[in-house]
């Protein structure tokens, strides 16, 4: 039988039609990677937390991808170095939303950047998980897409106040902050909360971080009868000067407050190691070891996994690594349960979490509450007891 040109054309059209309609191709969205944007200050002055968080992020991504991904989809991290600069964070956010088209964003990792990027992500309805402490960053009405997986500043404040009033049984409190915006704001909030709880704030002051001699303030606090000094400062130099001055004065008042008091740099700044005793800095139950040197079981398991993966712990904090892991796992779980990478689905899943068991803590979010970290997980640590990124639980906790 002769095959005409018309037959060939008809046959070709039929074959083309068959490939187009008879055998549906898998949708691109089902196989493309899950893109998580990561706004991280990897260089510059505020890079220390990022380095820790990034170890957790990389660990979680490797583990999930090695196990086959999320329903067969790999996780891809889109990392941008913000250098701690809000303007760079804004540019990176806009690039991630409009060009890279990520499915969710982890970070920024400091409040200064987050204050600039949160409204942008809010307008784009971009699912966002971050660990920043400033209160105004979380507002489910204004930013229904933003979720905080670490304590807010008021949760820190609650934990410090609880330790001073209920465990140390101190009733006369001195509150000292540095002169940064953070120090002034935190001091004001802390003083108001102490007074509300019936404590007597006998002394309050903001000290310039570069002030070489803090003995005037320490003398005034002692003369006022302070039984505990609450410190809201990010400056280790000022912390160390107060510890040294306390020792010179022969005073044994406890210091309670900001995590900067447990920074490893203080070891070199105190004149004697004992000057750093009786200093209780904010820490977390999941990352605090008890009198026998044991972490909670889940954290012990995490440390074992990290050790097997040769993740260094000695130069960072465990909660930073655990937080990075939890953030990635939350996004992965959201995609798995909601069945897609659509923003509304991810947000709806996060809003439904009730005591989701993370490594850093058990997270609870509702449509009206996006501060997911439980306050009772925030505890005081003995500041001078750092061991592989964890600290000894301060005395008084059962």
């Amino acid at each position: 039988m002769a095959i005409s040109r018309r037959d060939v054309l008809l046959g070709s059209a039929g074959a083309l039609g068959a490939t187009s309609f008879s055998f549906p191709m898998p949708a691109l969205a089902d196989s493309e990677p899950i893109k998580i944007g990561c706004l991280a200050a990897m260089t510059g002055p505020s890079s220390a937390p990022t380095l820790g968080f990034n170890r957790g992020v990389a660990f979680a991504v490797d583990a999930i991808n090695a196990a086959g991904g999320v329903k067969g989809r790999k996780i891809e991290i889109v990392m941008r170095d913000t250098q701690g600069d809000p303007s760079k964070a804004v540019n990176a956010t806009q690039e991630m939303i409009s060009q890279v088209k990520v499915h969710g964003i982890w970070g920024p990792l400091n409040s200064g950047e987050a204050l600039a990027t949160t409204p942008i992500m809010g307008r784009a309805k971009m699912p966002n998980i971050h660990p920043c402490v400033v209160e105004t960053l979380i507002d489910p009405a204004k930013y229904p897409n933003a979720f905080r997986m670490a304590p807010s500043n008021s949760q820190w404040d609650d934990a410090v106040r609880n330790y001073c009033l209920n465990i140390l049984k101190a009733k006369k409190i001195a509150v000292i902050g540095d002169t940064t915006g953070y120090g002034v704001t935190a001091l004001g909030a802390s003083v108001a909360a102490f007074k509300k709880d019936g404590a007597e704030v006998v002394y309050q002051a903001n000290i310039d971080a570069t002030q070489p001699d803090v003995s005037p303030d320490m003398l005034r606090a002692r003369n006022a009868g302070a039984e505990a000094i609450v410190v809201w400062s990010v400056t280790t130099g000022m912390d160390a000067r107060m510890f040294n001055t306390r020792a010179t004065m022969g005073w044994d008042v406890p210091f309670v407050g900001h995590p900067s008091m447990s920074s490893g740099e203080i070891a070199g700044l105190v004149e004697k190691p004992e000057n750093w005793k009786k200093v209780y800095a904010i820490g977390y139950k999941s990352c605090s070891y008890d009198a026998s040197g044991k972490l909670p079981a889940k954290s012990e398991e995490l440390v074992a996994r990290l050790t097997r993966a040769k993740i260094a712990l000695s130069d960072t904090l465990l909660w930073w690594i655990a937080g990075g892991i939890d953030a990635v796992e939350l996004f992965a779980k959201a995609v798995e349960i909601s069945g897609s990478t659509d923003g509304p689905g991810i947000i709806a899943y996060l809003n439904s979490l009730d005591k989701y068991p993370g490594y850093f803590g058990d997270y609870t979010f509702t449509p009206t509450q996006h501060n997911g970290y439980p306050t009772d997980e925030v505890v005081m640590s003995e500041a001078s007891t750092a061991k592989n990124g964890t600290f000894a639980l301060a005395p008084g906790y059962s």
Partner: protein, 285 residues
């Protein structure tokens, strides 16, 4: 309390006085108030800690290397931020150029050294309480520096050449003095004095990148109080500032003490615009 005010106030005041002298040394040969002055003192602390503590060199080797480093930064200031704008001194472009260089120095220090204060080693290990070396060392360094400068200016040819240029730049050049080389030398000398301020005050101020801005500010006050270019005025002004500041710290508290210091500063300048020890210059009318 009085002993604490005296010890801490004189120590801080001695550092401010040395920074004031650093301003004057640069000003004398170039008529430029360089914003890198405070950064030189900051580097005195940072480099001192780097050489003696981090690299484990001895105190003397650390001091010498610190002063060499600061002298080099002083020379760089002259080449990069001062020389290019000297021809248009009346437009005050040096404000911009020296401020830009100062910010660069500060940022590099922040990135390379870190933004947290770092420890500075005990240099001698003498004294405790109000007699601790961190209090008397800056005062001793200030006294030795002043004696050295007096010797340089009064007994050496180079020192007299500095004075000649400071008195009348054009006349000095007409006499054949190498004005440009002397200016470079004066910037190196200023770097050394700034380095001494930071090194001797390191135990008090720690090795902290933010000290530069603080010392720029507080180091300028004694210059303005004592009269521009007047080293004796800077010393008296610096010590008085340190004592007043520490007394205000005790009496009214940290934040308000700064307000007190600058209120006094403004009052003095209103009463004596040329500074307490300055001489008002004749004006051609």
């Amino acid at each position: 309390m009085l002993a604490s005010i005296l010890a801490s106030g004189l120590a801080a005041g001695a550092v401010y006085a040395l920074v004031g002298i650093t301003y004057n040394t640069m000003f004398s040969t170039s008529r430029v108030m360089s914003f890198t002055t405070g950064q030189l003192a900051m580097l005195g602390g940072v480099l001192g800690s780097l050489f003696t503590l981090k690299l484990g060199l001895g105190v003397m080797a650390g001091l010498v290397l610190t002063l060499i480093g600061c002298a080099l930064i002083g020379i760089v200031t002259e080449f990069v931020a001062v020389r290019p704008v000297l021809k248009s001194l009346d437009q005050h472009l040096y404000v911009l150029s020296t401020l830009a260089l100062a910010l660069m120095i500060q940022q590099v220090a922040a990135i390379k050294w870190g933004t947290e204060p770092q420890p500075f080693p005990r240099l001698i290990g003498l004294g405790s309480g109000v007699w601790d070396e961190k209090f008397w060392l800056p005062v001793a360094a200030c006294a030795i520096t002043i004696a050295g400068l007096e010797y340089l200016y009064r007994r050496t040819l180079v020192g007299r050449a500095f004075l000649a240029i400071s008195e009348d730049n054009f006349a000095a050049r007409a006499l054949g003095l190498p004005e440009r080389n002397l200016r470079v030398a004066s910037y190196a000398l200023a770097g050394i004095i700034g380095g001494i301020a930071g090194f001797s005050g390191g135990e008090l101020l720690l090795a902290f990148f933010a000290n530069g801005a603080l010392l720029n500010f507080y180091g300028f006050v004694p210059v303005a109080l004592g009269g521009l270019g007047n080293n004796r005025g800077a010393i008296v002004g610096g010590l008085a500032l340190g004592l007043f500041q520490q007394a205000a710290n005790f009496l009214v508290g940290g934040i308000f003490s700064s307000v007190a210091v600058f209120t006094l500063f403004i009052v003095v300048l209103l009463a004596a615009p040329q500074g307490l020890f300055g001489v008002s210059t004749a004006r051609r009318v």
